[in-house]
């Protein structure tokens, strides 16, 4: 961002500075505006509010509200405003789990937004890419052809049949026509270059491990899969490679931003934690309970009301 000097940008991203700025603005606001918040008994519906209600209606129904509908929207708005203010006067917002959680989320959203506000610089991307090559490296891949032998059709002769088949195919080599060989199976007889996990999801993990070890250019096997035995011709192997940063750019960007979010959230809590003193009351079962507390960035409410939908 050429418009703002680097120093200022870093300064803006500093949570402490942000909170101080907020404090200052708040102070100015109260000094200037006085009390018109939820404690007031005055509800003014401006044209802006009416427009917003109408817009929300349009957003849902794809048409403007008629007069009657608009009136009921406004009535409902007034009720909501009254209910909200009364509820807050009564303190109903204070011990409400949903509201607490929502507020927490707002605060965390705030940090997230700040974290992701400026796109990663080229240097940042390059550094992340250099530090995490394994995240971006493609898996090795193998292309192969396979002939399937179904044990339930071969009455104990499957291994024998497989060996015969292997011998026969070995003399024919790569060009063997396998369409009419072996038993039917609802899986491809010709697999294009596929990663280990691709092979595993069709043939099972054990088969995939074995296939990845094959030397291309000859018939091998039999290899056992979840379904039976396979005689396999490995046609080509491609080693895993690391695509260039240019090719991966959007993905690296996503990873950098995600990394930054986590880091900034922790940093924010670390900063704020300095202002708080959190202690655990000691009582008989206290030690046991304390031992079970898991290390999480923030506390969680445990005995919350249940909803199962």
């Amino acid at each position: 961002m050429p418009d703002i000097p680097n120093k200022l940008r870093r300064w803006i991203r500093e949570p402490l500075v942000q909170f101080m700025a907020i404090g200052l603005v708040l102070y100015l606001l109260f000094a200037w505006h006085g009390d018109t918040g939820p404690n007031s008994y005055r509800i003014v519906i401006t044209q802006g509010q009416v427009d917003a209600l109408a817009a929300s209606f349009v957003g849902v129904w794809q048409r403007p509200p008629n007069e009657q509908e608009l009136k009921s929207l406004v009535d409902d708005f007034v009720r909501e405003e009254i209910a909200t203010r009364e509820a807050m006067r009564m303190g109903l917002d204070r011990d409400d789990v949903v509201i607490r959680r929502r507020l927490r989320q707002k605060v965390e959203f705030l940090t997230e937004d700040i974290s992701t506000a400026s796109p990663p610089t080229d240097a940042e991307l390059q550094a992340y890419y250099n530090q995490h090559p394994d995240k971006f490296r493609t898996e090795p891949a193998m292309a192969f052809r396979q002939v399937f032998l179904n044990p339930s059709r071969r009455h104990g002769e499957t291994v024998h049949d497989a060996k015969l088949l292997l011998a026969r195919l070995s003399t024919t080599g790569a060009s063997a026509d396998i369409k009419t060989l072996g038993d039917p199976l609802m899986l491809p007889s010709e697999m294009p270059l596929s990663s280990r996990s691709e092979v595993a999801r069709l043939f099972g993990n054990g088969f995939a491990d074995e296939v990845m070890k094959l030397t291309p250019g000859r018939w091998s096997g039999p290899i056992e899969s979840a379904y039976g035995l396979h005689v396999v011709f490995a046609t080509e192997r491609a080693e895993g490679r690391l695509p260039s940063l240019a090719q991966l750019r959007p993905i690296v960007e996503r990873e950098v931003l995600s990394d930054r979010e986590t880091h900034d959230l922790d940093a924010m809590y670390d900063q704020l934690l300095k202002r708080y003193q959190a202690t655990m009351e000691a009582h008989d079962s206290g030690t046991a309970a304390a031992a079970q507390v898991r290390s999480m960035p923030a506390t969680k409410t445990v005995n919350a009301p249940k909803d199962v939908d």
Binding site: L29, V60, M88, K106, F109, R294, V308
Partner: protein, 668 residues
């Protein structure tokens, strides 16, 4: 003072956010932030194929047309679905604000986990799938996405007025100017903060939802759908929930806001919204109902919300917008119920039939059941089709999790439960979700089913490829295992076709796949023939049997159902009544939570001809594949935590898949 501070705080923060955002991203629209590297060619190709096939009805016709091209290469024209993609269409994250969920993990984590990455669960446990999913719909509740939220009102769309434009300029100038603009904006918002109420805020969050989906959507590798859940529960508490899925990217999805039950509890209004979306954007969208088992007779009722009998218009709309039903998930299985299918020994499966979702629950009455379970609804649909001319309940079947802890898990040995509180722990099975009026538990965590998944027959792992398969119902439901099953129904298949190397090509050429409708045969005396091939989960348990479930409407307008075993393992005999009464047995060692594949079969295939076909009678046929018994997640918990659960807790499970039906109608 304190409360006053709160109210202004939100506005202030909002503007500061806005300021920072605008400073740094002056030229980018929010919907393009972090756009993923599309593989545009793949996506476009899928779209093109779709266009070419449009108007031809079933995919089979499309394949047929192409295969008539005189080409040398046999692969030319073979553009029928050639593989199964596995996914979950029903995942809730921290963006769902249901009371007490305590889930801090947002959609990013849901996608990362589904893609196979290790994540830390909401309770601090390390979690990883044994195999990644191919696609995921994050379907957070629309109602709570739209909760009033001033803080998030940092949408530049709001600033489409003179003042806003001026601020933007000041912000671009940076430095002091930017700060000044920020403060000015704060004051302005404070004066009329109403402008930033609901719709704008909902928009901000919705755009965040769609932008995260954009980031994680990786055509060809992993598909992230835009979606939300419409959470209607009239009664209150009768579950009519629907998950809404967009075929389209953020650009189209952002032109609307999620439709919530606050807008309307009536599904007919949801369909209007869906129609409005397609009209406005030219995109495509569908809705998937779930948990008929908790609807207390409302999900597949014979009347609309006002109690009027269904009309042809209603039937057309429902069939148009709801091509699928989610029949199995964590809150129980809704295929059928022992009361409805007394002759079905597999019917008593992961039942949640105590009542609705109120707390305390409103108890179930037996006559509600026929309007809740899929098999019965498919039957009622035949009757309604005869009355109305259109079948409103002509739906395909899928499974999904409905997880609320962002983690889509279905494996019995790797089940993270439904809620954050249901993640693995020695106590998790005890937790009570809902109570009866007498304060005894109605639904407890041990009843949660480790399920389910959607299997989609498609050619490409893209939004377009998967959505189009869902729309034409070439999909099936699994309660967990990745069993592959392929079904073709036609008039002239013979047993020999089953072993053909070009099984699928022939299937499409001479018949229809799951989800299709059999056109009336030209030959008199013909009966439907069905070919089925099934493979067990490559890393799972063997199969017990393959069944066809037929439902039909006779001349006296009475509904019937019948089960036929088509293939069974281990040389067991199928009787002349079409049933194999011998159980496959069990190898489950409950104390050690193990099983072996010493029983069952890894592959089963079958050919079947309807022995009792009457061309005047409407009918449907769907396939159920039953897996051998394996340890249930409760058995793994008992073993791993060294605990003993009471005897009434089930310790084994007979997982299965249900395919979408094939229909026959004399009218068509």
């Amino acid at each position: 003072m304190n409360r006053l501070a709160n109210s202004t705080l939100t506005s202030v923060l909002a503007v500061l956010l806005m300021a920072t955002w605008s400073c740094n991203k002056p030229e980018q629209a929010p919907s393009t932030v972090g756009q993923a590297p599309a593989a545009p060619d793949a996506a476009t190709r899928a779209a093109d194929e779709n266009v070419k096939c449009e108007g031809l009805g079933d995919f089979a016709n499309c394949a047929v047309e192409k295969s008539t091209l005189a080409e040398y290469s046999p692969a030319v024209g073979q553009n029928f679905p050639n593989r199964v993609y596995w996914g979950d269409t029903h995942n809730h994250t921290s963006f769902s604000f249901d009371a007490g969920f305590g889930n801090p993990l947002g959609p990013e984590i849901a996608y990362r986990f589904a893609r196979g990455e290790e994540v830390t669960s909401s309770q601090g446990l390390r979690a990883k799938l044994s195999r990644p999913l191919d696609f995921l719909v994050v379907s957070d509740h629309a109602e709570f996405i739209g909760m009033p939220d001033l803080l998030r009102a940092n949408d530049p769309q709001l600033l489409k007025n003179e003042t806003a434009a001026r601020w933007a300029k000041m912000l671009h100038a940076g430095g002091e100017e930017a700060t000044k603009a920020g403060i000015e904006a704060v004051l302005a918002i404070f004066k009329r903060n109403e402008v930033f109420k609901d719709p704008k805020v909902t928009r901000t969050i919705w755009e965040k939802v769609t932008s995260i989906a954009t980031q994680y959507n990786d055509p060809g590798h992993f598909t992230a759908f835009n979606g939300f859940e419409w959470t209607s529960a009239p009664g209150p508490g009768n579950n009519l929930h629907r998950v809404v899925i967009f075929r389209d990217g953020a650009q189209r999805a952002n032109q609307v806001l999620p439709f919530s039950a606050f807008d309307s509890e009536n599904p007919e209004d949801l369909w209007k919204y869906l129609a409005g979306y397609e009209r406005k954007t030219g995109g495509q969208i569908l809705a998937i109902p779930h948990n008929g088992n908790l609807s207390n007779g409302m999900m597949f009722a014979l009347a609309d919300m006002s109690g009027n009998p269904l009309t042809r218009q209603y039937a057309e709309n429902r069939a148009r917008w709801e091509p699928l039903t989610e029949v199995t998930q964590t809150k129980g299985d809704s295929e059928t119920h022992p009361y409805l299918s007394p002759d079905d020994e597999f019917a008593n499966f992961e039942r949640w039939d105590f009542g609705n979702m109120m707390n305390p629950v409103v108890p179930k009455q037996p006559d509600m059941l026929q309007h809740e379970y899929a098999r019965s609804a498919l039957k009622l649909g035949l009757k309604l089709e005869k009355q109305l001319g259109v079948n409103p309940y002509k739906f395909g079947m899928i499974g999904s999790t409905d997880t609320h802890n962002s983690l889509s898990t279905v494996d019995e040995d790797n089940f993270f439960g439904k809620m954050p509180t249901s993640e693995p722990s020695p106590e998790r099975w005890k937790e009570v979700f809902l109570f009866k009026a007498d304060k005894t538990p109605a639904a407890a965590a041990w009843q949660t089913q480790a399920a389910g998944l959607v299997a989609v027959w498609a050619r490409e792992n893209t939004r377009e490829g998967i959505f189009d398969s869902m729309k034409r119902k070439e999909v099936y439901a699994s309660t967990g295992p990745r069993i592959t099953v392929r079904v073709f129904a036609g008039w002239d298949f013979n047993a020999g076709d089953l072993d053909r190397p070009d099984f699928a090509a022939e299937g499409y050429k001479r018949g229809v796949p799951m989800g299709g409708t059999l056109a009336k045969s030209a030959a008199s005396g013909a009966a439907p023939t069905i070919m089925i091939r099934a493979l067990r989960d490559p890393d799972g348990a063997n199969l017990d049997r393959v069944q066809i479930i037929k439902g039909w409407l006779d001349a006296k307008a009475e509904l019937h159902e019948k089960i036929y075993d088509v293939a069974v393992s281990g040389g067991r005999k199928i009787g002349s009544d079409g049933r194999c009464k011998t159980s496959v047995g069990s190898t489950v060692d409950i104390p050690n939570a193990t099983y072996t594949n010493a029983i069952g079969a890894p592959l089963l295939s079958g050919w079947w001809k309807d022995p009792d076909f009457n061309p005047q009678e409407r009918a449907f046929y769907y396939v159920r594949v039953i897996q051998i018994p394996t340890p249930r997640w409760t058995a793994y918990d008992q073993k791993r935590f060294g605990i003993k659960m009471p005897n009434y807790i089930p310790m084994t499970v007979t997982d299965r898949v249900y395919t979408s039906p094939v229909w026959y109608s004399p009218a068509q």
